[in-house]
């Protein structure tokens, strides 16, 4: 985008605060469904958003595809802001930068011919299909390159290239009416080389789908549960992380009471962190979508609630420091408080020791998904194993964990020494579909978890 045009429109804006964000986006997708190539295509998109704040009004937004008449969009946002009537909104102070962040890619996926990308994902798909009883697959290759321009009336001007390369593999095995799925993938803001050599991932996915055919449904009940790093990471993001987002508490005194800093949330082995600055992860950026520098924020330190995630608005409202967590799902949407890379810090208990004193329990692995209704949560593990007399025993399926967040966090009685990040997360808060996040955790043991079952 033309810098002079944006800056002069910002100067001309009659709002108390105005920001502009635009994206140009190029996406290549190759999708196999079973033997069929479902689609191989390249799409392009461009658009922008103007967000204006009028203190006697509120927030006004204008989103658009056509970048032609920019002044008109600034006017629309201002006029919209004027009709809103809310309490005066303040923004916490931030020192803004002029910056240009270029993507550093090992192998630039934009230079790889389509035929080569197709060959790669086809080879993974062939591995999935080579397993007898795998009746269907989904093998997705995707690369995306976004050039983002951000500017605001307080002096920020940031151009950032945001690359993402993704391989996602699903195998569906079937035996009569018994249909089982397994999935894995990788999605990172990096070069093409990261999605090479995933043959072993493909084999594991297919094997797991086949193995699940002969797994029994877990018997419902209350168990000690050891969660693998993938599931623990999704759990801490979904069940706890969302409550740490200040937009949940800032306008709600009862919620503030519930999430009061200093409250004991777990035992001293539990530390939870959000860090938008970790290199190479899905939630990593130098600045958030308000131009605020990102940083490491400890949410829970040794069991005690110590921090929360903010946008400029929530930070001002609560009198706390900005954390760089205002993120937007593309140019159609305003930034809201979101996590970046959220993880449970490494603990000290080796996995074997965690399992060894469980007489009857469940080892829950991988997360198909999770949903929380604030204090209540539900998580579907991808698969699991029974733990019998201190040993991992038979595989089980349909493992769904549920419970109350507060009592569950208190019941985390062991944190593993094997912190692992997983790079596939999409967080679905608010409008506009998923936002890339990474989640991480070691193995974690939780006592007295309700496992649904038949």
């Amino acid at each position: 985008m033309d810098r002079d045009r944006i800056q002069s429109a910002l100067r001309a804006s009659r709002a108390d605060y105005t920001e502009f964000r635009s994206e140009t986006r190029q996406v290549t997708r190759i999708v196999y469904l079973g033997r069929r190539l479902e689609t191989v295509d390249t799409i392009s998109d461009e658009g922008g958003i103007v967000r204006a704040l009028v203190r006697s009004g509120g927030w006004g937004l204008s989103t658009f595809n056509s970048l032609d008449n920019l002044e008109h969009r600034f006017d629309q946002a201002y006029e919209s802001a004027r009709v809103v009537q809310t309490d005066p909104i303040n923004l916490a102070p931030v020192t803004f930068a002029h910056d240009e962040i270029r993507a550093t890619l090992g192998t630039d996926f934009r230079q790889i011919p389509l035929a080569q990308k197709k060959g790669l994902i086809e080879s993974y798909n062939d591995i999935l299909l080579s397993f007898g009883r795998v009746v269907d697959t989904q093998a997705v290759y995707m690369d995306e390159f976004i050039t983002l321009t951000y500017a605001n009336s307080e002096g920020a001007f940031i151009v950032e290239e945001r690359p993402m390369v993704t391989v996602y593999l699903v195998a569906t095995a079937r035996e009569g009416s018994n249909v089982q799925r397994a999935a894995d993938g990788l999605s990172v803001p990096a070069g093409y080389e990261h999605v090479l050599g995933m043959e072993e991932t493909a084999r594991k996915v297919a094997q797991r789908a086949v193995d699940l055919l002969s797994a029994e449904t877990v018997v419902g009940g209350v168990y000690p549960v050891v969660c693998d790093p993938k599931l623990s990471g999704v759990f801490i993001h979904e069940a706890f992380g969302h409550l740490s987002e200040a937009d949940f508490v800032y306008a709600n005194p009862q919620a503030q009471e519930m999430m009061v800093l200093g409250r004991q949330f777990g035992r001293d082995i539990l530390t939870v962190v959000d860090d938008g600055g970790l290199p190479g992860m899905r939630g990593t950026h130098r600045y958030d979508d308000e131009g605020t520098p990102t940083r490491r924020t400890e949410l829970v330190r040794q069991g005690v609630l110590t921090g929360r995630l903010h946008s400029r608005e929530t930070a001002a409202r609560m009198g706390e420091a900005v954390t760089g967590n205002a993120r937007a799902t593309g140019y159609r949407y305003p930034p809201i408080v979101r996590m970046t890379n959220t993880f449970i810090e490494r603990g000290q208990t080796p996995f074997e020791q965690m399992v060894s004193d469980i007489k009857l329990g469940v080892y829950a692995c991988d997360a198909i998904g999770g949903q929380t209704m604030l204090e209540n949560f539900s998580f579907s593990a991808g698969y699991g194993y029974m733990i019998r007399d201190g040993r991992i025993a038979e595989m089980v399926k349909d493992v769904v964990l549920s419970g109350n967040l507060f009592s569950t966090l208190q019941k985390i009685d062991a944190v593993g020494d094997d912190l692992t990040f997983s790079h596939f997360g999409m967080c679905g808060k608010g409008q506009g579909g998923g936002l890339p996040v990474s989640t991480g955790a070691p193995h974690v043991r939780i006592q007295d978890v309700v496992i649904g079952g038949r």
Partner: protein, 433 residues
């Protein structure tokens, strides 16, 4: 559009150009106060075409560079799979109104008034509640032309209101939603407000439950647990991929006779209605499940072609994806008993209002295992209070073989599917206490 189609002549055997323009207004209330207003302008173009029988696709949002679009389409068609598809010629469809010109004239101030009314009414039910309301008005125009002579365009209007209520008391959180939509501004939102108010009232009392097998009554929203696997199984794409448990059961009895599910694009005032689908195929009403028997699947042109079947007029599309089969408006047929009658017959059971984790498990297999976000205990025909930390599990292909009752009353759920109350005689309920 026509110029792109002309430019594709000679480069493709068949071609299709789809374009979309949309303008919408959204006002948002957060925590009981109006927070923001947004105007949105959207435009985009999507192309499909065959080269040597290979079906390519591409799309672009924003200002379209014609040459780039055409090159992207040809590159896609070079590598794509062969599909025996034929784009349809112009064929008349049912006459359905999809556009209400009056909607564009509703003043902004009226939308704000509605938001305030919703919040004021719900605050009467609970003064501590934090209410969020999104009110959105959209006007869309899409156009489609193809090399078989179809040249059509449609204007649609849409109006939707989504409401969320959050109430925190100590560590007790209640979070409930409702959603209404249509092509016009109607007072359907008042029903949603009433439903939410009733839920807030009922949730004020708490109740406990002993785990075990018991009758379970699903409210329209709760019933999504049962409807979702049917929706997935009747999706022509699941059938074509061989992952639908219903794929080889056309004409067979799968569920209780009380279960009938319609796909109905002819309903007046519904946003899913229309004369033609996104591929120019005429729409029609059909039963997916008729009195428990698997009756029809939903196809777009491509899945139909791959299955050797005809498109059912269910080709849905946005800008950035190729068309895919999707229901228009789904209607689960209502029954004969009234809700009070059904409740009266339950000695000890559970009413499911809202399940967490929909679609997260192995849904296509019919299996469900959900924690319940909102559920009530029923004792001797009365709803006595909210129960928490409860989860439910089963499989529709076993548990829907016997349905105890289906209510006369039904509601639109998330604007997508109209559901009655459904009573299952026995399901396994797990809980902490």
């Amino acid at each position: 559009m026509q110029d792109i189609l002309t430019a594709l002549r000679g480069k493709t055997e068949q071609a299709e150009v789809y374009s979309l323009e949309e303008e919408s207004t959204l006002i948002s209330f957060e925590a009981n106060v109006m927070k923001s207003a947004r105007v949105e302008q959207k435009q985009g173009t999507a192309l499909r075409g065959t080269v040597n029988g290979r079906l390519g696709f591409t799309a672009a949002g924003g200002n379209v560079a014609k040459e780039k679009l055409i090159n992207n389409l040809l590159a896609s068609a070079q590598y794509a799979d062969k599909v025996p598809i034929s784009f349809p010629s112009a064929t008349p469809g049912p006459e359905v109104t999809t556009y209400d010109p009056a909607l564009a004239d509703v003043p902004f101030s009226r939308l704000v008034e509605i938001g305030r009314e919703i919040i004021a009414t719900l605050l009467e039910a609970d003064t501590d509640a934090k209410i969020g309301v999104d009110i959105e008005r959209g006007l869309t125009q899409w156009s489609l032309c193809n090399s078989a002579g179809t040249q059509t365009s449609r204007k649609t209007s849409s109006f939707s209101i989504s409401i969320s209520v959050e109430r925190v008391r100590g560590d007790d959180v209640l979070l409930i939603y409702d959603w209404v939509n249509g092509i016009s501004l109607t007072d359907a939102y008042r029903e949603a407000v009433q439903r939410l108010g009733a839920k807030i009232e009922l949730a004020k009392k708490s109740a406990s439950l002993v785990a075990g097998r018991m009758p379970v009554l699903f409210s329209p929203t709760g019933g999504l647990v049962l409807a979702l696997p049917i929706m997935q199984a009747t999706d022509g794409k699941s059938v074509q991929r061989g992952i639908s448990p219903m794929s080889d059961r056309l004409g067979q009895t799968v569920f209780d006779r009380k279960i009938t599910l319609w796909d109905d694009p002819t309903l007046v005032g519904r946003p899913g209605s229309g004369s033609h689908d996104g591929e120019g195929v005429p729409c029609r009403r059909k039963a997916l499940v008729q009195q428990g028997t698997c009756n029809s699947f939903l196809y777009d042109l491509k899945t139909a072609a791959l299955m050797g079947a005809q498109s059912t007029g269910n080709g849905a599309r946005g800008i950035f994806s190729p068309p895919y089969p999707s229901p228009s408006n789904l209607v689960m047929e209502a029954g004969k008993s009234s809700l009070p009658e059904i409740l009266a017959g339950i000695k000890h059971g559970l009413l499911v209002e809202f399940a967490l984790g929909l679609g997260q498990g192995n849904t296509i297999s019919g299996a469900f295992s959900n924690t319940l976000g909102l559920a009530y205990v029923i004792e001797s025909g009365e709803i006595i209070g909210r129960v928490k930390d409860v989860s439910l599990a089963g499989n529709i292909y076993e548990d829907l073989r016997e349905v105890a009752d289906v209510s006369q009353e039904s509601d639109w759920v998330y604007g997508q599917i109209r559901m009655p109350y459904i009573l299952l005689p026995e399901l396994n309920v797990t809980c902490k206490s």
